[in-house]
């Protein structure tokens, strides 16, 4: 075994293989930077190049790209709040907060170093896990996979910033959106209202970039100022490494969780990154800073999302079950070389397996190192006002979302979800559970249905794996309740934070600014209506297809009703406050729904809110206008009209900036289709 490992390493010393690896790493890094392309884009661009190569060279190139895509996709999530994948949204929680406090460089260094370690540990894990993979995969039946999806959504709901009821409501809303399309069990269409476009379900990239990315553009375009705090670019690489080393145990734990989760086909990768975040929160003594820029919230998940890629290769090679499109394409490539996936691959092609392991390790280190060197210049991006970044970002993000399905409808869905994301953000409703719910909706339904049909009655609930997951889910809640009963509350140990404690250092002025106002009350009522409507519509589905939508809609309805009740409580309380106390400062916490405000402060806040709303409305209208232009004249033409108009009238940049910006963007769009596997949407006039 060691012989094979060493000879594989020796073969990698071959300069032509190293060159292929380097090309793969560079391509992976560049593609990862563009939100929405991700691993699929990376493999799609490289695959045609590999036809006709030796299998070793082709593998080196593809693995090189796959290993680093999740390193560089952190950049958009941390700096711009635009995660291109479900796993990047986890890093975003703390990474983006940190970047907005002017510490973008610190956030990025931590993320890149963790990615590197995650990749390395993943590669070692890949080697060690090969003999263990089979029993591990076989011991995870449908009931365990079902519990894993539940755990993923609940962790996201409980751990995201904000209150638990709002988190759960957002999670149910995401689950509901995920159910749009063809049912996995009966192949009938649900919530598609006769549209063939919706029968495919909503595209993941459109959801992720809409709910986070576009909402971010709309809420920040109004701010002419860069960040509220000056960007700190101080502190050399040494400082970054030193800080990172203090979190080494989080890195290792995150990576191990990532490998384990990646090995489980289907649901592992998304749930795994949340489990990594969950364990970081659960094992921390002081949890108050999570969600506001805690380094531990970056290190663990970032290490996990790279090792997940390594773990994912195990079911791909050993069982021929790829965990995602990128590994499916890798599988296809192996097939064209006559390499059959299956347990025999370990004996028949051991040298190739080790080549993959080594290539993965080397690529992880090289990719993270390149990114780490570039952190300083990347972080400077946060100095550019969002109003100026806006149009370019919009054009690139919409283009990224278009690639998944090649449907203009996806772009409309994305803008619509941008509006939803804006209001969720403004009312302090966490958006991460929404995204995770969306991703896990179909697997959850699939494994619930399979569990219910393949096992007699409730016997599956007694399986050891199920019991362990149930314990992970329930014990912390019981523990928190117990503590509360004993009266030793205070340090919110149930994972979510009341956010009353201490002065709020939050720099994001929109986040939660509309909590406790008419807007959040309206949102709660609207959600009740949405869940009620879904419940009513699901009555028309067949019995099997109805099960999950009904369950989700009912639970969502209950959660949304609790939200309405909470809103009503705030209203009553505020009315009472206004009557008895005048001018007495009661609280300054700007981002909590329970914060009470005195009148002068309230007036000022109301003005700021109106300003934010006006700008957001204008920005979303501009996005819709852009899409209309795209449908008329095609993407390039629409960009040429939209960009200068937006820059001159909304961002009010100098003429020269507007012209150069537009010309550069136009040239990029012109060149992109020949460089990357990118299609530009066509208009009817073309």
């Amino acid at each position: 075994m060691t012989d094979a490992a060493l000879s594989a390493l020796a073969s990698l010393a071959d300069p032509s293989l190293l060159l292929m690896l380097a090309i793969g790493v560079l391509a992976g890094l560049v593609i990862g930077l563009i939100p929405g392309l991700g691993g699929t884009g990376a493999v799609a661009i490289l695959l045609p190049v590999t036809f006709g190569m030796e299998p070793e060279a082709a593998l080196a190139m593809l693995i090189g790209a796959l290993a680093v895509v999740h390193t560089s996709d952190t950049v958009a999530a941390v700096l711009l709040g635009a995660p291109g994948s479900a796993s990047a949204s986890v890093t975003m929680l703390d990474g983006y907060s940190m970047a907005r406090q002017g510490q973008a460089k610190r956030a990025l260094s931590l993320a890149f170093l963790s990615s590197m370690a995650g990749g390395l540990i993943g590669a070692v894990g890949l080697t060690l896990a090969i003999p263990l993979a089979r029993p591990l995969v076989l011991s995870f039946g449908s009931p365990e996979l079902f519990m894993l999806t539940i755990l993923g959504v609940s962790l996201a709901a409980v751990l995201s910033r904000g209150n638990v009821v709002k988190g759960l409501t957002a999670g149910f809303l995401g689950l509901l959106l995920g159910l749009v399309g063809t049912s996995p069990t009966t192949a009938e269409e649900r919530f598609s209202f006769g549209s063939l476009f919706l029968s495919d379900g909503v595209s993941l990239v459109a959801v992720a970039l809409g709910i986070f990315g576009l909402a971010e553009i709309a809420s920040r375009v109004g701010q002419r100022r860069v960040t509220e705090k000056p960007v700190e670019l101080t502190g050399g690489w040494g400082a970054g490494i030193r800080e990172w080393v203090t979190h080494w145990s989080q890195v290792v734990r995150g990576a191990l969780i990532g490998i384990w989760a990646g090995v489980l086909p289907g649901v592992g990768a998304t749930a795994g990154t949340w489990l990594a975040y969950g364990q970081a929160v659960a094992t921390a003594k002081d949890k108050r800073k999570f969600g506001k820029g805690d380094p531990r919230g970056i290190v663990g998940p970032e290490s996990a999302n790279n090792s997940v890629e390594a773990g994912d290769l195990i079911p791909t090679f050993l069982f021929g079950i790829p965990g995602g499109v990128p590994s499916a394409m890798l599988l296809g490539m192996l097939l064209t070389y006559g390499i059959q996936p299956g347990p025999a691959i370990v004996t028949d092609h051991l040298d190739l397996m080790y080549l993959i392991v080594w290539a993965f390790a080397i690529a992880s280190v090289a990719g993270a190192f390149l990114c780490f060197l570039a952190t300083g210049s990347l972080a400077k991006l946060t100095r550019v006002p969002f109003a100026v970044l806006g149009p370019g970002l919009l054009v690139i993000m919409l283009l990224g979302a278009y690639q998944e399905g090649g449907q203009i409808g996806d772009l409309w869905v994305m803008v619509l979800l941008g509006v939803v994301g804006f209001f969720l953000k403004a009312t302090g409703t966490p958006r991460a559970p929404f995204l995770i719910g969306f991703v896990l909706a179909i697997p959850m339904e699939r494994y619930y249905y399979l569990t219910a049909s393949l096992y007699d009655g409730g016997s599956w609930m007694l399986r050891p794996g199920v019991l362990v997951f149930a314990a992970v889910l329930i014990v912390p809640v019981l523990w928190a309740l117990l503590k509360k009963l004993r009266g030793t509350s205070g340090q919110a140990d149930d994972g979510h934070r009341d956010e009353h404690e201490g002065p709020d250092h939050d720099v994001d002025d929109l986040e939660g600014s509309m909590a406790g106002t008419t807007w959040s009350a309206a949102l709660a009522v609207l959600l009740v209506a949405a869940f009620a409507a879904a419940l009513w519509v699901s009555g028309s589905f067949s019995e099997e297809a109805r099960l999950m939508p009904r369950l989700v809609a009912t639970c969502g309805l209950v959660a949304a009703l609790v939200m309405v009740w909470q809103e009503a409580k705030v209203w009553r309380k505020r009315a009472a406050d206004v009557e008895e106390a005048f001018g007495e400062p009661l609280g300054t916490g700007g981002s909590t729904m329970l914060a009470t405000r005195t009148r002068p402060v309230a007036d000022e806040k109301a003005l700021a809110r109106a300003h934010d709303l006006r700008i957001a409305a204008r920005t979303f209208a501009a996005m819709a206008g852009f899409l209309v232009l795209v449908m008329l004249g095609g993407y390039l033409a629409a960009t040429l009209v939209f960009t200068p108009a937006f820059l001159l009238y909304a961002a009010r940049t100098r003429l020269r900036t507007a012209i150069v910006y537009t010309v550069v963007l136009g040239l990029v769009l012109l060149a992109l289709p020949s460089l990357l596997p990118v299609d530009l949407p066509m208009g009817i006039l073309q």
Partner: protein
């Protein structure tokens, strides 16, 4: 003309720098650039945009034409109506790459994946907009053929309006878990406890296996909802399901080890339809009986003629001619004939056969002169067959197609 307007506007730009230069970091109170200039810049770019969309489209995508069957300098666009990375995608990319190398003039190849509606959207799109000059090719596979067969409302294509270039089949083997009490085909019927079959959806490739169970009267209950055949194979190893099928290319790695260690028993192959329309043993599994043989073994007589005809028709459609490359009906004969004959020569080339062994899964490329006729027969499904299938779906699986 449009170009001219644009140039003038750009040269008017230096006047704009009369606006005091400011650091981009403090633009909050910046006055709007003069409205006239701003409007001029936007108008200039609009003119450029109109120019780009009207003229640029043709310049960037020069129209191809191969009416004379000359492919030099052309690019063949291949519509793959499924996602990157699947079995069909791998097959199509490999076969088309080899084919375009062989075609005189060595045209380029541009595969396009449009995976909407499980293949239906992309195929609809091809049907409505493909160029008819031999530079656009469609890939068909079971997931687009079954909805066509069932006449689903979303289907707006008709294989009768397309012309085949080449076809390639595959086969499948049904196997069961020994621990569920299955030693051979006789354990399929008259059971105390029905066998659990794991499937993806009754309206997918699973349909053929369901028809086989129906023909045999096998005591099987079906649970659909699995993500793919790989997960069903794992579920069988875990004991969650009892009976499964795998296509030829995955049988080796996924099932053979289970058969060797006694976990599973192979029962029968779905068979192949030969050139005379008979169901024969799968050349890749010469030792396994076909469904028809199993029926005879169990019942001592031939199956009912109508039921057999339904099975035969669906087998031909979903396995024997499972994957094919097509061009639009109005494509010039020269181009079609050139592609077909090149494919035939390529299929007979031992070098290609060796390179393609794994991708083709042991079934030859079929591009002989009578392909169009045979494939036409297979795809022209009788109403009686269609009704049989719809009835099976409705009575056994509660699925109605409206």
């Amino acid at each position: 003309m449009t170009q001219h307007v644009d140039v003038k506007d750009v040269t008017a730009d230096p006047d704009g720098s009369a606006v005091p230069t400011q650091d981009p970091q403090e633009p909050q109170d910046r006055a709007m650039p003069s409205p006239r200039l701003a409007a001029a810049v936007v108008a200039g770019f609009t003119a450029l945009a109109v120019g780009v969309s009207v003229l640029g489209g043709d310049l960037l995508n020069p129209a191809a034409s191969t009416t004379d069957g000359d492919y030099s300098g052309e690019t063949v666009e291949m519509m793959i109506p499924l996602a990157e990375g699947g079995g069909t995608d791998t097959w199509a990319r490999f076969v088309a790459t080899e084919l375009t190398h062989e075609v005189p003039g060595s045209p380029g190849l541009a595969p396009v994946n449009d995976d909407g509606g499980e293949g239906i959207l992309g195929t609809n799109h091809f049907m409505s907009s493909a160029r008819t000059d031999g530079t656009e090719v469609l890939v068909s596979t079971a997931s687009t053929v079954v909805p066509y067969l069932l006449d689903m409302p979303a289907v707006r294509y008709d294989f009768a309006d397309l012309r085949p270039i080449l076809a390639n089949g595959t086969g499948a083997v049904v196997y069961a878990r020994s621990a569920a009490g299955v030693q051979g085909v006789e354990d399929l019927v008259e059971r105390d406890k029905p066998l659990v079959f794991g499937g993806i959806a009754a309206t997918s490739l699973d349909l053929t296996t369901l028809l086989a169970f129906d023909l045999l009267g096998a005591d099987v209950t079906s649970t659909f909802g699995f993500e793919g055949r790989g997960p069903v194979n794992l579920a069988l190893q875990r004991g969650e399901v009892d009976i499964d099928y795998q296509t030829t290319s995955s049988y080796g790695p996924a099932v053979e080890p289970l058969v060797e260690d006694g976990t599973a028993v192979p029962l029968f192959s779905l068979g192949q339809v030969d050139e005379s329309g008979e169901i024969v043993r799968d050349p890749n599994f010469p030792d396994l009986p076909t469904v028809v043989e199993v029926y005879e073994q169990l019942n001592g007589e031939q199956p009912d003629a109508d039921a057999l005809e339904t099975y035969r028709a669906i087998l031909a459609l979903t396995y024997t001619y499972q994957k094919a490359l097509w061009v639009p009906e109005d494509t010039p004969d020269e181009a079609v004939e050139l592609l077909r004959s090149t494919a035939e020569e390529m299929g007979a080339d031992p070098e290609f056969q060796e390179a393609a062994a794994e991708v083709l899964g042991g079934y030859p490329i079929d591009a002989s002169t009578d392909l169009a006729e045979r494939i036409g027969d297979a795809y022209r499904v009788d109403d009686a067959v269609r009704e049989d299938v719809l009835e099976l779906l409705e009575t056994d699986h509660d699925i109605t197609i409206d």
